[in-house]
Every structure is written in structure tokens, then in C-alpha cells.
């Protein structure tokens, strides 16, 4: 690791100012950042320990209007154990519980999970070129590359797949994110939080330099709604998902699907909204035939590579499973 200055901010606003400088990075739990720093993929001069700010919240509460408010510095273990999360958005507790290991879950934060950088093996080793580290092309797209974990969607320039399991659930539930940029906090849709990969980009998220994720706000579910999260991976324990899906469906008075959200993880450079699946569900009865059709429609726009075509089958499976469980959970 390159030597750095450790910066303790008094507040989130001070952290945002300190981290806006060239060569500064924000650190919360550090489980992603320290790995990158050890490999010198990231070599900051200043590490701003934003989790030590006095107003860095790890509280998980329900506001008067029913909004589930999750402090961005809550750990994945906090989320998995929270009675509020378990009663209002159990799919999020399940996604947090499935992630990583107890040791990681007690350090890794919700904000860090959403802002973590690509887990692509090529990105994380300096001995390989990488578009996102500033090289001309993505080595994953070349013949003979290891493509097992590569993205199925949006993989034209960079084929890394976004690993967060919390993101699909939060997006499907319509979460908003509160961001401190040094001035007044801004609340925005989480769905548009990530940006397309670009050569030499130094972040996966659409934030101004230094901006701090402070809180996630999940609106109360509509009546007669259900949310579920499903993932498939190689190992039951301590592994990344190969494909994941969070689905939310809301039924109308006649029991038909009035509204649906289908978000995929680990299959695109950012959490991926399967708009085709959502459209296929609207107005349909929540039965197996409709879920099969939605699972097929989820693959609209997919561009399988020679090494990751199997992921198309996994997407169909996780979408169908998530929809079935979301329908079972309607209340």
C-alpha cells in the first residue's frame, strides 16, 4: 500500500470537502478499498474516513410516513438483523445475509456496497490492461479471455458485472439516496445512481468528486405488494452471485399486476433494470405463464459472449423464482 494521510472529518460535509481534492478517496468499512489499495489499483494520497464523522449514521428507523430510513453507514450485518428491514423489506435483509462472510458483513456498509468498484479480476490486477483503468480496450472482450463472470448486458465497452446484491432490491423497492456534496443534501432516485463504464473512470457511480452517500430511503410498499430476492452462485457460502434478481409486484383490485419492478444484479456493469420483463407483467394475472413470459422478456438486449452464454439461462431462472416468491409474499 502506498503511504497516505488518514483524514478524520468532523462531519459528512467536511468529509465531502476533504474528499473532493484530486488524490483523495472516501473510506467507510474499507473492505473494498483496502483490497484495491494493496494491489495499487487505487493509490490515494488522502483517505477520508467518512465513517468517523459525527453525523455518519448507521441507524435503521421507520419515519412517521412509513419510509424505511437506512443510515448509509449501517453494516450489512445491521441490515440483516434489523427488525424494521425484516418486517418491511425482508428481501433486503435476505440479500444482506447472503453477502460475503460474517467478518465482512460486520464491517462493510450499505453506502460502500452501492459505491464499490468492479470486482472484475482484470480490473483488480495491474498486470492486465483495463478500460476503466485507462487502457484502450477491455481484455474481457478479447478472444480467449475468462468470461465466466462477464456482463450479459451493456458489455460493449467494459464487460465487468456489478456485484452488489443490495442494489437490485433497493432499486426494485423504489429507494432514494440522500447525498451530501458539501452544501445542502440532495435526495435522488437510486435507479439512476450508476453510470455507464468509461475509459479511465474513477468511480462506478454518478456522483460529484467527494460526494458522500448519507442515507437510503425506501418508501412504504403499496397495498397488495410483494418483493423477493433470488440469486444463483457456485458456492452456498462466501461467494458472489453469478446472476441475481429482485422483483416487486403490486396487484390491482382484480388481482392483476398493476405495477412491477424487475432488477438484475451481476449481469451488467451496473444494476440492470429489466424493462422488458416489467412491461410483460403489467395487466397480467400473477401466474406461472406470465412469469415465464417475463423471464424470457428479461433477456431483451442481452449480448451473450462465448464464455458467459450460460448466464442467460440463469437470468431466466432467477427472474422466474423471484416473481413466484414476490407473488407468494403479496400482502
Amino acid at each position: 500500500m502506498k503511504a497516505f494521510r488518514y483524514v478524520r472529518p468532523a462531519s459528512l460535509a467536511a468529509a465531502a470537502r476533504a474528499a473532493a481534492h484530486e488524490g483523495a478517496v472516501l473510506k467507510a468499512g474499507g473492505t473494498d478499498l483496502l483490497d484495491r489499495m494493496k494491489e495499487r489499483v487505487t493509490a490515494p494520497d488522502d483517505v477520508v474516513a467518512v465513517g468517523e464523522a459525527g453525523d455518519a449514521s448507521r441507524a435503521i428507523v421507520v419515519d412517521a410516513d412509513g419510509t424505511l430510513a437506512i443510515g448509509a453507514f449501517a453494516t450489512l450485518a445491521d441490515v440483516a438483523a434489523s427488525p424494521h428491514v425484516r418486517s418491511r423489506l425482508a428481501a433486503l435483509a435476505a440479500a444482506a445475509e447472503l453477502a460475503a462472510s460474517p467478518q465482512i458483513r460486520h464491517r462493510a456498509t450499505v453506502g460502500g456496497n452501492l459505491c464499490q468498484r468492479s470486482r472484475c479480476g482484470y480490473y483488480r490486477l495491474l498486470s492486465f490492461p483495463c478500460l476503466r483503468r485507462g487502457d484502450a480496450t477491455c481484455p474481457v472482450l478479447e478472444e480467449g479471455a475468462v468470461q465466466e463472470h462477464a456482463a450479459l448486458f451493456g458489455n460493449d465497452a467494459c464487460a465487468s458485472s456489478h456485484p452488489s446484491s443490495l442494489a437490485p432490491v433497493l432499486c426494485a423497492a423504489g429507494a432514494r439516496v440522500v447525498v451530501h456534496g458539501g452544501d445542502a443534501p440532495v435526495t435522488r432516485e437510486l435507479a439512476t445512481f450508476w453510470r455507464a463504464p468509461a475509459r479511465g473512470d474513477d468511480s462506478d457511480v454518478d456522483l460529484a468528486p467527494g460526494a458522500v452517500v448519507a442515507e437510503l430511503r425506501v418508501p412504504p410498499l403499496a397495498a397488495r405488494s410483494g418483493v423477493a430476492y433470488e440469486e444463483v452462485r457456485q458456492r452456498a457460502a462466501f461467494d458472489w452471485a453469478l446472476a441475481s434478481c429482485a422483483a416487486r409486484i403490486a396487484l390491482d383490485g382484480e388481482g392483476r399486476i398493476a405495477d412491477a419492478a424487475v432488477w438484475l444484479g451481476s449481469v451488467a456493469p451496473a444494476p440492470f433494470r429489466a424493462a422488458g420483463a416489467e412491461a410483460a407483467l403489467r395487466g397480467k394475472s400473477p401466474v406461472a405463464g406470465a412469469f415465464d413470459a417475463a423471464a424470457a422478456a428479461a433477456l431483451a438486449g442481452a449480448r451473450p459472449l462465448p464464455g458467459n452464454a450460460y448466464k442467460a439461462d440463469l437470468v431466466r431462472v432467477v427472474v422466474r423464482r423471484a416473481l413466484v416468491r414476490a407473488a407468494e409474499g403479496v400482502r
Binding site: 500500500m1 502506498k2 503511504a3 497516505f4 494521510r5 488518514y6 483524514v7 478524520r8 472529518p9 468532523a10 462531519s11 460535509a13 467536511a14 468529509a15 470537502r17 476533504a18 474499507g30 473492505t31 483496502l34 483490497d35 489499495m37 494493496k38 488522502d46 483517505v47 477520508v48 474516513a49 468517523e52 450485518a77 460475503a100 462472510s101 460474517p102 467478518q103 465482512i104 460486520h106 464491517r107 457460502a237 462466501f238
Partner: protein, 221 residues
Amino acid sequence: MSGRERGERRGVTRRGLLKGAGAAAAAGVIARPAAALAQHADDGVEIAGPGPVHLVLRVNGAAREVEVEPRRTLLDALRGDLDLTGAKRVCDRGTCGACTIWLDGAPAYACSVLAIEAVGSEITTIEGLGTPAAPHPMQAAFARRDALQCGFCTPGFVMACAWAAETHGAALDDATLRRSVCGNLCRCGTYPHVVQAALEGAREMTAARDSGAGDGAKGGR
């Protein structure tokens, strides 16, 4: 542990020899004074480093002082600066679990925590769990059940298993235990004995607590 005790009886240890040589070679570096924590009240930040900083860590119930750069991981500070070599450095990437310790009673990879960020936390290492003379029930169960081969992953496994037992108490079953130690790897493949030992150790911890004789189950929680 026993190897080290044997070495000490001979008046010299391999580790002590290596440390002495390293200290002599690096004397110029170590003699550099620790930078004071710079205050930048206007910006609302305190800045430490990049040079060595004086830290007080709370380890196994005692205040321990170290002088380390902010980039020093807690694992390297424990092993290299405080001579607490129970936590092992294997992958150094938060994957294998050999460096598992407790931070404020929760399991953590010491390799993935900076020493400077552990200031203010209660750090528990395998040395704080029990001693050869008065082992923690989980340590005793691992020894009795032969839940190790080379032993390098064992301190991390014991810390993870003892945490699982503390957390789940009598409700700790096979499946919960396996999930609780999924962040620890054993290259020798001693998993069946580890599971046996952990469940047995957990039962003894619960029994000791229920009978009020919880002295052996001290864990800093």
C-alpha cells in the same frame, strides 16, 4: 504456542532473532519521531500521517501503544508491533479468515482494518480468549476433538466459532455454525472436526453460563 515456549527455554527464539535483525537494519526509520495529529479546525478535519502516528489500542482488555503509519493494518500492528502472533497473515485480502479477531465483540478480518481506525474499539485476539493454562471452552474443544492439522487457520476458526457460540447460544445448530464460519478456510480440510469441536465447545459455553460458572468463557463481549 508450544514451539515458542520451547524456543524461549533455549534463551532464543526464531522470531526474536528475526525481529532483532530487522530492528537493527531499520533503526534509522524507527527512530523517526511520530508526527502529531494535525488539526485543521477550519476544514473540520484532523489529519494523521503519512508518517508514523502514536496510537493507543485497547487489546484484550489492556491499553497498548504503537507507533505506526496510517497504512499499517491492524493485523500487521498486532503481529509486528505487539507480538500478538495468534492471528495469522495468509491471504491479506479479507478472504481466508486466518486473521479473524473481534472488534467490539463482532468478528472482523484484522487484515482488512487499519490499525488507526481500530482506536476506540475493544480488540479481542485469540490470546485474549484463553491461555494454554486456562483455555477458553472453544480452544479446549478444538484440542480435544483434534480439529486441526497444520493449525495455521485454527486461531481464526476458534474466534469465528466462539463468536457464533456467543451469538446463538443454545440455538447454535449445524447449519447456523456452518454459515457462521463460511468466512474461514482450512487448506488441510479439517472441516468435519471443526464442526464437531465448535458444537461441543458451544454446548460447554452454554452450560457454563447456565450454571453461573462462566469464568472460563470470558470473551470480552
